[in-house]
Symmetry: C3
Subunit: 345 residues, 3 copies
């Protein structure tokens, strides 16, 4: 851990300092947890009121932030990114990765390893695998035969990558994840399910990150495809022949059924489910726990199960709240009309 | 990859060819993705309209399909199964499995291995395990003591099978899955939870397939039981003492709570949840994301959370759509009756 | 397996026997599954009617149970706990764990192992790890550098514990689980997501149990914290910087988003989801599949998605049932008022 002055920090993040440049910062923390001596940040305007009660000694804030405060501010375009830089500087990431090929690793025939590839203890690399420069395969990971992995990719401990997968460069795959398990395909013959061969592959393009305990099935034929820059959280299910577009975000415990196509810049919030054979357009946002039963046009925000456009769903949910009272009033009105009619007739 | 003529293909699948037998097929693909030279198939009538726009050079269709087309057809009883045969023939599944016992595998005392058993690198087989003929234990898998596994079973990489499990023949278990972890059983004693011993086992009968990253807990006592022919998708949770009947389908991310009994030929769609201690009858279908809170009689189709019969739930969901408009109209009617009454009185 | 008389059993559980002390018990089973010769138990009053049809030869029941029966009873304060004692006695848990350090395990530099530590085959322990007395690291598990583990802790097969984690004493972590994977943190810069370094750790306090295939992410900075005595079921997602209080219960497939704080004695039922940055008070119960979108005061029972207090949600769900009929009646009433008005005017 290093200490930094506000002057040093504002130079580090290329920010505009409002306050005493000589203040010494000894730690970094969230706005609620921060103690004296800590720097914090404010990315989400909804947390602005927390400034007043925060113990932090300085705040990295957006250029656009308007709230008045007596605390020193460092203003930047992207406070979250700037704070990351400060954290990385103060708490250098001293993660240690394997170097070289560990003697307990098992490497098959005809394996091509690039420069500075590392393979951890107990890892297994089958025949005909190709791995690019500076890629790290951590302890206990399995790389199936004829798989290709790019440069500077990081495969964490106990990951399983089945045969013939194609993994790009600068990809990160977290522990426990399985890439290329068989798609879930069966056909009923005389009352029992017969397996449909799953002879396709999985393709993961450059700069994708995949969380822990994720399952991405291989295609029935052809490929299951995760395009460049997409980020996938933990415990996500991606079925056979799914295509996920560039720079999308798939949050934890979401499931995407077979052959569905997800656009680019899509956000699938936690625990949502997408049925098979549908298309989710670019820039769509799907709310947490939503159940998507049909294709969704681009630039739409849908929520609920079954999922509907957000503005409609919001009204339905508001109406639910009123339902019990409403049923009561309806019974009263019905009675009133009935009584009144019998009186008047 | 092999090319085939339509004549060869129709012979292979025992189908009725309608079109030029000499057409050469170079690939196989889904109806939307197919290119010229590809054969495709049509199993689901709802996709029939896609025939017109498909680039495929031939289609495997059902005997019952009525839509007219200028494309060559091969008619069969089960197009999905026939297409699988063609795919397997054109793209032979050249998956390679371990052969023999790898020198890095660790095999315990008193282990009985059948003929042609293979054990991959870094696998661990504890004492007193029995494994039948032709079974393959892939790299990094763990087989706990006193476990019994049948013939021609396939345990993929990094699977964990805890002690005393009984796994049948022709079973497939995908990577990352855990069989026989302790059931989730605690009892509160003076404000803290005390563990209830989970001394039972897991039994997986013949011809079951279990996806990736599935958790099946051992019984508190007795057994958790998955019966013959059932197929389980990825990331499914099966709690202690659950029984799943024959030839059922459990789709990804479904959870079944302790001691529930699922019938045969049941379909549990994705992300659904079943509470503990209930019975789901034979042939029941549970919709995606449904929450089943009580026992369900056989031959029922239920959906929603809480789950209700499909025909009732459908009406409720349709009614939700009308709710906001309806609340408005109700307020108007109430006002109207009130005004009118005050006028008339 | 041992047989016991009812006299021996009532002494074992310190219970009050009502019936023949010489009856011999040969097995133990659930109230529905029990056969002649079995003892069973009754913890939940809702199962009392099952007594009459049970084949069990004796029942461990609560002191408070009032139902009359001709079967021998052993009355105790906590029937579930007493039954556990009987089961443990009749079916001794003869689980075998590794002893000593297996020759195939890979142990790093500067590792400090307590007395009687066991490390199974193919396990990997990186540099600077400290492990307390009697702790068992099973086959294929990975312990990252600078991790500290307490005494008598049990790390099952193929668990991954990433660097710098702090795991308490008497902790149990089941197979396939990942502790300390990177939090899901990205910030969008010029249209692509840039990774925010996740330099924090995971802390798991004493007496915590964590199921199979669980993912607990390391903090962005600071720590993700699971407090003493909490029990976590399978396939649960716990995001970065989450804090879970003492003696809470998190049931299978639940997800907790980043920075949320869960109180003590909380119960999160299966498949529920908690958004980020909220506080769930002490003693809160969250129903299965609930979607919690905001902070929840202590001692509350909430259900549904979006989650609401149980008593309100119950009325809303009851109202749903009536909706289709109600819409029909409303249309009729509207028509009636309209007709009547036109007649009377």
């Amino acid at each position: 851990m290093k200490t930094l002055t506000l002057e040093e920090i504002s130079r580090l993040v290329d920010g505009k300092l409002e306050g005493d440049p000589s203040v010494v910062i000894k730690g970094a923390s969230g706005i609620k947890e921060a103690q004296e001596g800590d720097i914090t940040f404010l990315a989400n305007p909804k947390y602005e009121p927390l400034i007043d009660g925060s113990m932090a000694s300085a705040i990295i804030a957006s250029n656009a932030m308007q709230r008045a405060t007596t605390k020193p501010l460092i203003r930047v375009e992207n406070p979250s990114l700037a704070f990351s830089k400060v954290v990385s500087h103060m708490f250098p990431d001293d993660k240690k990765f394997p170097k070289g090929i560990h003697t307990s690793a098992v490497i098959g025939q005809n394996v091509k390893l690039g420069k500075d590839v590392a393979v951890g203890p107990q890892a297994v690399i089958e025949d005909d695998v190709e791995i690019g420069d500076k890629t790290v395969i951590c302890a206990g990971a399995f790389i199936g035969h004829a798989t290709k992995i790019g440069d500077a990719t990081l495969i964490y401990q106990n990951v399983t990558i089945r045969e013939k997968a194609q993994i790009g460069s600068r990809v990160i795959i977290h522990s426990g994840t399985v890439i290329g398990s068989d798609g879930f395909g069966f056909t009923k013959v005389n009352g029992t399910y017969q397996k449909i061969p799953q002879t396709g592959i999985v393709v993961v393009e450059d700069d994708v990150e995949i969380g822990a305990c994720v399952a991405i099935d291989r295609a029935r034929f052809g490929r299951t495809l995760i395009k460049r820059g997409t980020k996938i959280d933990n415990l996500v299910q991606i079925a056979h022949n799914v295509i996920v577009g560039e720079n999308s975000i798939i949050i934890a415990q979401t499931g995407i059924s077979g052959s569905s196509v997800i656009g680019k810049n899509v956000i699938l919030a936690g625990q949502c489910g997408i049925v098979g054979h549908v298309e989710i357009g670019d820039n769509v946002i799907v709310g947490a726990q939503a159940g998507v039963t049909k294709s969704v046009p681009k630039n739409t925000f849908i929520v609920g199960s079954p999922a509907r456009p957000h503005n409609i769903a919001k009204k339905i949910i508001a109406a639910w709240e009123k339902l019990p009272q409403f049923l009561k009033e309806f019974a009263e009105l019905k009675e009133e009309v009935k009584n009144w009619k019998s009186k008047k007739q």
